[in-house]
């Protein structure tokens, strides 16, 4: 019985892998491939947010800070020093980790709401900051005008490609690594500790869990992963507009929406939510974008609203219910 199920899942996964690997062969229009790439990027970002927001239940509403840090640091290092983004991303990741510790240190000792409010305020501060800084020493930041990535043509070292296909495989790998990381964390001591402290901090401390440190670790991992997503965004879009890279509506809140809609605290919930909502958003933009101002975001908000009301514990809960029913029918 278990044998058969195992075989079935392996076949299912293998099939999925083949499809994912072959997608660029069938999707040849750059626009459609771009849409798919964005879906995977959002799935990855939601997966990153989920580590601190879902597993540990610490509501960060400022993860745009980390995408911005990833994007800006990497592009600045590349534009000015010519440092390869493949190296720059680790420096960017380290900066993101540092920032996550600065935000987490004073707030993680307190109850949840302080952290949530602090992340909102600090991310707004970061947006104001980016918008107002033209240059830092010899590094160009660009202020409100934004920052353009220096293009050098097709080059692996520079993380720049003339075709969308390499971007597709890179984000696919990043997403798979992200999912594996999430799964590993969930099954490890850290994962158990995060869920425990999310459920009850006092009870968690009573069984030896250092609540603040574990939150800080989760926050740092999440920040690092998110920053890598920011790096990818910068390389793909090649133009950093402060409000798009760091903004609440365009970045921070999106990651949260997607995770909650998919199912916070699960491994695959954020992936489902990320893909679904970015498809919905793209679809609406495609059909309603040029029309009445505000219409497409209005519809998008409405759809999110309805999903949350109908399915507050996330879409993945539907699958669980389905699985339960199937197994009940088998017995």
């Amino acid at each position: 019985m278990i044998e058969k199920n195992n075989k079935k899942t392996i076949i299912l996964w293998a099939g999925l892998a083949v499809i994912l690997l072959l997608i660029p062969m069938f999707v040849t229009k750059p626009y459609f491939l771009h849409v798919i790439i964005m879906c995977l990027l959002w799935a990855y970002l939601a997966t990153s947010w989920n580590i601190i927001g879902g597993f540990a239940g610490q509501l960060s509403l400022g993860h745009g800070i980390y995408t911005a840090v990833g994007a800006y640091v990497t592009v600045m290092l590349f534009n000015t020093l010519g440092l390869s983004p493949w190296l720059g991303m680790f420096i960017a990741g380290a900066v993101a980790v540092l920032i996550s510790l600065v935000i987490g240190f004073p707030t993680f000792g307190l109850r949840g709401a302080y952290y949530a409010l602090a992340t909102v305020a600090i991310s707004e501060g970061v947006i104001v900051l980016i918008n107002s800084i033209g240059d830092v020493g010899k590094f160009h930041v660009g202020g409100a005008e934004g920052l353009i990535l220096k293009t050098v043509g097709n080059s692996w070292a520079a993380f720049q490609f003339s075709s969308k296909v390499p971007y597709y495989y890179i984000i696919l790998i990043l997403l798979v690594l992200g999912i594996i990381a999430a799964k590993k964390i969930k099954d490890s001591r850290l994962g158990y500790y995060l869920v425990a402290l999310r459920e009850d901090e006092d009870a968690a401390a009573a069984i030896g869990i250092n609540v603040r440190n574990n939150k800080l670790i989760a926050g740092a991992i999440s920040a690092f992963m998110t920053a890598l997503g920011g790096v990818f965004y910068a390389m793909l879009i090649r133009y950093l507009e402060p409000n798009a890279v760091a903004g609440a509506v365009s970045m921070s809140t999106q990651m949260v929406f997607m995770t909650i809609v998919g199912g916070a605290g699960t491994v695959f919930g954020p992936v489902i939510g990320g893909i679904l909502l970015s498809l919905v958003s793209e679809f609406i933009r495609f059909y309603l974008g040029g029309q009445l101002m505000g219409l497409h975001l209005f519809v998008y908000g409405l759809i999110v609203l309805i999903i949350i009301i109908k399915q507050p514990s996330g879409i993945i809960a539907l699958f669980d219910k389905l699985k339960e029913r199937l197994s009940r029918e088998q017995h």
């Binding site: 099954d187 490890s188 001591r189 158990y192 500790y193 869920v195 425990a196 999310r198 459920e199 009850d200 006092d202 009870a203 968690a204 401390a205 009573a206 069984i207 030896g208 869990i209 250092n210 609540v211 605290g265």
Partner: protein
């Protein structure tokens, strides 16, 4: 030769004007089972919270295993070897029973496999194996109380602080729980328990400390304590003494 495991020296805490625990001195020896009783609001739970570091004492010391642990945070105190249950149980609702217990077992190992092993043993001992994959939020009150003990037990404590684990159980459930606690003692865990159910306390504990208004009122064997006039006064009022 008796070995002191826990010693409270002049332990005191004030909340504003209220002195919830007042110059409490007591000892618990290794291998012993000691009861802590007293009327509601006497400061029993607060005394526990002082021992495990939820509150910092205003005065006094907590000595555990010949080490001054006063003022350490709760997670450090757990690692020193003190487990505790909460009077108002605190299960991790969205985790299964096994996962709840595993969270406790991780104090002693970083390996998930080992933690599962430890947790499974504890789960069996506590008679929770049939609930293994149930979410803790779905358990009944007696089951939650047992889970509370199981979580603490999985940290492999030398000393276990039990806060009213029998309250709210019916007579058969109490009997079962008493057997569980006795088996813990047999496994070498020292017990300090707060309890209102006196018969059960007397069945488990060889020594009882009575607390009233934050102060120690009496101490002795169950017979000595229940015969003590002061104690009867505290429980039933002056007219009965």
């Amino acid at each position: 030769m008796q070995n002191t495991l826990l010693e409270l020296q002049d332990l005191t805490v004030r909340f504003g004007g209220l002195c919830a625990v007042n110059k409490l001195n007591m000892k618990v020896n290794t291998g012993e089972a000691v009861g802590l009783i007293g009327p509601n609001g006497a400061g029993k739970t607060t005394a526990f919270n002082l021992v495990v570091g939820v509150y910092k004492p205003s005065e006094g010391k907590v000595i555990f295993d010949n080490e001054d642990i006063t003022g350490l945070p709760p997670n450090e105190i757990c690692k020193k070897g003190i487990g505790r249950t909460f009077q108002v149980v605190k299960p991790f609702g969205k985790m299964t029973v096994l996962q709840n217990i595993m969270a406790g077992a991780f104090v002693n190992t970083a390996k998930t496999q080992e933690a599962r092993q430890i947790a499974s043993e504890v789960m069996e001992k506590m008679g929770l194996q049939s609930k293994r994959d149930k979410l803790a939020a779905s358990l009944t009150i007696p089951e939650r109380k047992r889970l509370e003990m199981a979580k603490a037990l999985a940290t492999r404590p030398k000393l276990m602080l039990l806060d009213e684990v029998l309250a709210g159980l019916n007579p058969t459930e109490i009997q079962d729980a008493v057997l569980l606690i006795k088996s813990m003692i047999k496994d070498g865990v020292t017990i300090l328990m707060i309890e209102h159910v006196l018969q059960a306390t007397m069945a488990i504990c060889e020594r009882i400390v009575v607390l009233n208004y934050g102060q120690k009122l009496a101490e002795g064997t169950p017979e000595q304590v229940t015969g003590n006039e002061e104690v009867i006064k505290a429980y039933l009022g002056d007219d009965y003494a």
